[in-house]
Amino acid sequence: MRLFLLSFIYLLGLTALHAATLAEYTFEDPAQDEDFREIIEEMRCLVCQNESLAGSNAELAIDLRNEIYDMMKGGQSKGEIIDFMVARYGDFVLYSPPVKPSTYPIWFGPLIVFLIGGVVLFRIIKRKNQSRETELSEAEQERLEKLLNQSNEQRDTNQ
């Protein structure tokens, strides 16, 4: 229990630290503030690759945050800043890669697989339905009727 509490306090401390590192970036315009937060959330920290620029405390991430902050303060738009980053670090810096021929497989691949799955499923269901509808031969028909009559007779006697 004590361990749990300690780790909980530790985690609280971490989030406070995280918040503190971003609180230093303030803008007069709330729209700009929102843009800034969006940009650093969408950018990958290249040192610790599974963290965003917003979440990372790596030196380079701090430098890049400062750089982006200065650029925004200097009046540059979100698009310009994204171009600046991509020109230096490549598409890899973006968490969602741009749609272009080399990224078609990752954007449309799942859709294509989904469609193939749909076609396969459709054909299987269709085939099952068909096999159920096959007509009975004369002998089978006769037997079926016999069985049905039999059960009806049975029911009559039971009543």
Partner: protein
């Protein structure tokens, strides 16, 4: 025929997945293709490691093929690659320009005095601003730059003689053949 085809479907699917995983898991996530290949090195004007008064800019470096090596004294892998750099510099096969990244001047100077100085020019980028323009995300990184200041190759991680001889040296020889 149809039956064989149907039974081979899982095998084919497995084969495709295995091929992607084999390729994908074998790739190094640290090796990020640089968008700067084929482009000019960024404009800069920075002091040298030796002296705050000596300024170096991108124009000063034109007219020769060189390796631009990003290094720092806090970087462990740079220590590992340093002997290779000294060896290469002594061999005379290529000139090495240093970009000292987010470091302290005194420490950098002491490092060079102690371990040998492979750099003909050593740029002191304390703020790391030029390193950002170069798309540096870790040290060491080594760029191959030609006489016009165009970047031809980037190697992330410690430079080894193997990488130099197999990849960089042929490119350097090509550039020399074209340039002369």
């Amino acid at each position: 025929m149809n039956r064989y085809l149907r039974y081979s479907v899982p095998l084919i699917v497995f084969g495709i997945i295995a091929a992607f995983l084999y390729k994908g898991l074998g790739m190094n996530p640290r090796e990020i293709p640089s968008p700067l290949i084929g482009k000019s090195i960024p404009e800069f004007s920075l002091p040298s490691v030796e002296s705050a008064q000596t300024m170096i800019n991108d124009q000063n470096l034109k007219g020769k093929i060189y390796l631009l090596n990003v290094w720092a004294t806090w970087c462990v892998s740079c220590r590992a690659e340093h002997d290779t750099l000294v060896h290469l510099a002594r061999s005379g096969k290529v000139e090495i320009v240093g970009l000292n990244w987010k470091d302290e001047r005194v420490k950098a100077q002491a490092w060079l005095q102690q371990l040998g100085d492979p750099y003909t020019v050593n740029i002191f980028d304390q703020k790391g601003r030029t390193a950002i323009d170069l798309g540096v995300y870790g040290a060491p990184e080594t760029f191959l730059v030609d006489g016009d200041g165009i970047i031809h190759y980037k190697h992330a991680g410690p430079l080894t003689l193997g990488v130099f001889n197999e990849t960089l040296l042929p490119m350097i020889n090509d550039l020399k053949a074209k340039g002369s």
